[in-house]
């Protein structure tokens, strides 16, 4: 037991989880923005935008996240020499956020589209009937109802995003938790199982409140019909 507690003096476990939280926070915001735009594309009446939205979702949803993030490091950073910040660490951190956002935007888009499906067609027809164009109808009538219907699936995307933030190790964000876990196992191989359990527990603590919150909110905010 003392052995185990000494781990926390040598290794800053909360700081590593904090990196995952930061990655998830920024990636969630960007993914929500990109995903909403994509969802608009997919429900829009313009065929080329529909086509783009479908193509994006299919490409990013079907590409493993590890490959996207490894491409961020090997392709964007190493070969194309793209740098998103002066400091090396910040630059790699931001490239990882870009990768996480682009990937999860595809899932956000699908979650919102499923929310749109909960809105009765009559709502859209009524919006048209009072003279609203596509964008005002989407902004005022459809999306507000769609988001309320999409809370639970969006919560699932957020949970997946938090867990997937560990893949940022492939994009060289070595301060995050799965990298720290690797380091701890390398140096304290006598405590492999407790180390695993610590990190598993860390993610349970992060993820369970989100599950509870979104389930509660999706019940509370769903549009009663």
């Amino acid at each position: 037991m003392e052995n185990y507690l000494s781990l926390f003096e040598t290794y800053n476990v909360p700081a590593a989880f904090w990196v995952n939280i930061q990655l998830s926070f920024w990636a969630a915001i960007w993914a929500l923005v990109i995903g909403t735009v994509l969802a608009l594309f997919r429900i829009s009446p313009i065929p080329s935008l529909q086509w783009f939205g479908t193509a994006y979702v299919n490409i990013f949803r079907n590409t493993p996240l590890t490959i996207i993030l490894a491409f961020g490091f090997l392709g964007l950073f190493s070969v194309m020499q793209i740098s998103l910040a002066g400091e090396l660490d910040d630059s790699l951190f931001r490239i990882a956020i870009v990768g996480l956002s682009l990937y999860h935007a595809a899932f956000v888009c699908e979650a919102i589209r499923s929310g749109v499906n909960t809105v009765p067609v009559g709502q859209a027809e009524a919006a048209r009937a009072i003279g609203l164009g596509f964008l005002p109808a989407a902004r005022l009538i459809i999306l507000p109802q769609a988001f309320r219907g999409a809370i639970a699936p969006l919560g699932n995307v957020l949970i997946a995003l938090i867990k997937n933030s560990t893949v940022a190790a492939a994009g060289s964000v070595a301060a995050e938790s799965s990298s720290l876990m690797k380091t701890m196992i390398e140096f304290r191989s006598d405590l492999v199982i407790p180390i695993f359990l610590t990190f598993a527990l860390g993610f349970v603590i992060l993820v369970i409140p989100i599950g509870l919150l979104t389930t509660w909110a999706s019940r509370k905010l769903a549009v009663a019909r």
Partner: protein
């Protein structure tokens, strides 16, 4: 009420089936591997992804670790056909040994005091040192020249930790493997790659990298590569004798030369060849 009771019973039944299935699988796996353990065959853990040391070339294995493993096995009376090579990634080495999934490990396995608490070591059969791999035209001659430069190593490795502790001015990039580091260095964003000199030599001598990189040759640590054994193993003395024999008859040096060809590498002559430590 009745319905929930049935549901609960069903859940319990499913859970029981699942659990018993797990137990059954574990048992049979153990007895299977136990059978192979004795007699004329050996299961040897090596790296599969380290060119020059332990490298999987589509079913056949090459590298210095592999050559020493074959020599030692031969001395123990096991022919090459009866060796089963098992992948032993760094993080799994202790577990593979303590669960008796392998009989011994030759996988750039540094002898350390923490590790001695869970596993036993024979050897060392090589003393490596942390060094730098740089592009051929680079003027970096040691870790002191790295201030403000970008250095790459593997996430969680001893080498990465040493840089963080001793050279805080260096910008360290951590990647899942050395191949990624070398690729990034080829692209020009990374100035140097660090780990043990012989691993770097193996990377540099790969066909794809031939002539592009050089090992600096200014080591700043001592890693004694040992043969990992389960703690209750009685093979330590025999393995040490085999290693000594390999060094004496020249096969040891030949193996190093063959596996680092084209990397312009020479091992540290002050520390090598090593004398195996007495078995505990």
């Amino acid at each position: 009420m009745q319905k929930t009771r049935y549901a609960a019973a069903a859940v319990a039944a499913v859970a029981a089936l699942t659990l018993s299935a797990c137990g059954g699988g574990g048992d049979s796996a153990e007895s299977g591997s136990g059978g192979e353990g004795g007699g004329e065959s050996l299961r040897i853990g090596i790296k599969f992804d380290q060119p020059g040391l332990g490298y999987d070339e589509g079913g056949s294995y090459s590298g210095f670790d592999v050559d020493v493993a074959k020599y030692v096995a031969n001395e123990l009376g096991v022919t090459e056909d009866n060796i089963e090579f098992v992948e032993a990634p760094s993080a799994n080495r202790e577990n593979l040994l303590s669960n008796n999934q392998v009989d011994m490990i030759f996988a750039t396995y540094s002898i350390t005091d923490t590790r001695k608490e869970t596993v036993a070591f024979a050897g060392p059969y090589f003393v490596a040192g942390q060094d730098l791999l740089v592009p051929t035209d680079s003027d970096i001659t040691g870790p002191e020249d790295l201030e403000g430069k970008n250095l790459c190593s593997v996430t969680g490795s001893t080498s990465a930790q040493k840089i963080k502790d001793q050279y805080p001015g260096v910008q360290l990039v951590e990647q899942p493997g050395y191949a990624e580091c070398v690729t990034a260095m080829g692209g020009g964003q990374i100035d140097a790659v660090t780990t043990d000199d012989i691993i770097l030599a193996g990377l540099a001598s790969q066909e794809a990298n031939a002539g592009k990189f050089k090992v600096v040759g200014n080591t700043f640590s001592e890693e004694k590569y040992g043969v990992g054994l389960p703690q209750d193993s009685d093979r330590c003395e025999d393995i040490n004798a085999a290693i000594t024999k390999m060094i004496d008859d020249g096969a040891w040096e030949e193996a190093i030369t063959r596996n680092t060809e084209g990397a312009d590498y020479s091992f540290n002559k002050d520390l090598n060849p090593p004398t195996p430590e007495p078995c505990a």
